[in-house]
Symmetry: D3
Subunit: 161 residues, 6 copies
């Protein structure tokens, strides 16, 4: 089944896959995370953990549609050092998502907006675009974020007044 | 379904709800945890994680009865910055819980007691009361705990002899 | 049901048991982990978490066959301070596992090998044996690992040529 | 020596005090942090660590003026379980700090402002006030923050135009 | 200079040595910690950190007398994968330490006691002995601790009455 | 003073700069780390911590030559949300470093080698090159590392025989 991510929905066919790694070079982690996203993962993150004999390990977590389990497993088994993985069934509730443009002193910039039951509850400047502006105009990244958020709020106040 | 928390029981209708937060002001976390408890959460905790692009994020975890899912979602979507949550079905096995009074040099203080298959396996001084005594009598908190635990043990030895 | 760990397999009858501990002496953790392995746990690990009122706690995780739930619960309730545990159903996908001997300058040493769909994907020197060699021959542990891995690779290159 | 915190300055007479705790009830941590602030600590924070034998411990950190070392030690030795502490000399570079009022739909709210070499580089809504407004007006805390930040930016744009 | 650990004292000749490890097998950590204690370290602990490119690394910390710097460096450079270490001067304030025997139902057990300015402020059952009793008598480790602490408190109340 | 990094040396003129961040969008961290390296930092890493009121914060750490303090401060004050930083004097002991080429089935690849008192103690494949090979030849990154390390060991055995 495939979902229209513009609509708020619940997807009951997800898996949370986990692998504990205590004997792997941590230098490889970001490379592996990228490969997992390429293989269809919806989200990937790692958690610092303490394993048997007091070993400081990391737990790799992959959230993915159940239909893509074997692609994810192929990446995990070939790229990490684990001898096994586990997974649990999960449901994902995703907000309706839209992209809006806001007018800033550095041109139009994108804001990702989230809707819950038809109501705007989230808005976040797009990191990549803000980063580009910060570099190009030599301004602190936090100022770019502030400007985008302020313009977004003003634009919406005007719209609702 | 509602459970009598004085009796040991297993509740199979629980959900573990998770949201990964990588773009939120961490200053808001304790406020949000309080709101989640107010909305009926049985437990709330956060886990430091590493998200894509090496971002140090936090994973919010809420353990709650399945019937209260939407109340918890309302808090998460309005108070945090996440665009989605996930949840897994969970069973909770809770010990029978009782409160006992123990007589200490600072008056009667409460101990929370846990029973597994009819046998006393846990006892913990109530934090709030010990904290109040420590402040009022200007004694180290750890001494208050020690005194409460010692008196509890003596009381139970007497009872069983 | 019991599995032959030499064959790659998926075991759908597993549980992931969790207990949050915010009032326990952390000194006991490794002792408790050992007891849980003795009670049949397939894996045990702890995660640093932040609990209500900003308490730095630890989450104990036990991966185990569902049939052993009560043995694990007995250990958790008698050895930790928790008043409840939760568990989720999980599936474990385990690689086929074999042990190979490799010839090194310190004698024969064991390598644990993992197979995914008939293909060798993992190999790891046995920690205990390498540790023994490092101590006995006064060489850095990392050199022992390197030597074992190098010899394993050469042995397999020869075999496949 | 005492510093005027409205002026940017460097204070070379600071100590960073550390104590590793592996056998203490983590429930006491926030109480102890409060006591350390009462005893004159400039900052207090804890770091999750792994100690010998794989014990998940916490490292308590206190930043304080050297002249207050013994008051801090008294709190640490009487309230925690440590048998020793260590400290290192540190210098603190603190921005000039001022408080400004901004006019919002919920009345005047305070923003803490930081100056580096005469230039405004930081501004942060006061948590306590925003939290009070969120509760009183039943609005999400994040909206209160957004409103305060937006009004602050608009006020400063006007001032500089 | 050498200190009598039975007397409370401050040792100004200590170093805190740190090495960040992002490309090392975490399986080796406990072995390396043991070697560092053998080389004279007063304390060793690791901290989970996030390094450049989002790598989940660990920071190794060794607290040691300045005179033993090179022995510690030899272990770190030969056993870990780091290309450099850093160190800072530190002072250690150590409580006066004594060992007391307490009479329990399992025989005499040792308590480590700490004195600050002549006043008893800490007492901790010896882990190794309690562990031995827990195994030999098949009782929960936490009960052994409780019993030792209770008997210690009763013994001291009697002594002071 | 400037050091020849090919020679093992101790640099006593270093600072370890720290800033605790509890109110900053964690999404900015990797961008800030890059800017700090650009400003001359020798190393940058972050540590998950728990701050007052139980806030999950991050501690930014920058290791840098004392002469570059103000460049680093400019980045921290303009890009993060902190109102102050602290720093401690540190010494860095760096191994002699050289780059060697090893011949692999994918061509010449670089190994970074570390020397302690004239003795080779470290060797690490260059991440960037191995990553490039893994992508270009569609092989697991861990295999590229293994091959480089094995060839390096064989090359050195030949040289020493």
């Amino acid at each position: 089944m495939s979902f229209n991510h513009r609509e708020e929905h619940v997807d009951d066919g997800m898996l949370l896959i986990q692998a504990n790694l205590d004997d792997m070079n941590p230098e490889w982690v970001s490379y592996i995370m990228d490969k997992l996203f390429d293989a269809g993962a919806n989200d990937v993150y790692v958690v610092p953990i303490i394993m048997k004999k007091g070993r400081p390990g990391i737990m790799l977590n992959v959230l993915v549609e159940a239909t893509r389990l074997s692609s994810i497993e192929d990446v995990i088994f070939s790229e990490t050092t684990t001898l096994g993985i586990r997974y649990m069934h999960a449901s994902c509730h995703r907000l309706g998502r839209e992209f809006e443009q806001v007018d800033t002193k550095w041109g139009l910039l994108t804001v990702k907006v989230g809707y819950h039951q038809g109501k705007l509850v989230q808005y976040a400047p797009e990191f990549k675009e803000c980063e580009r502006v910060a570099k190009e105009y030599q301004v602190p990244l936090k100022l770019v974020y502030e400007e985008v958020r302020t313009q977004f709020m003003l634009q919406h106040k005007k719209a609702s007044s």
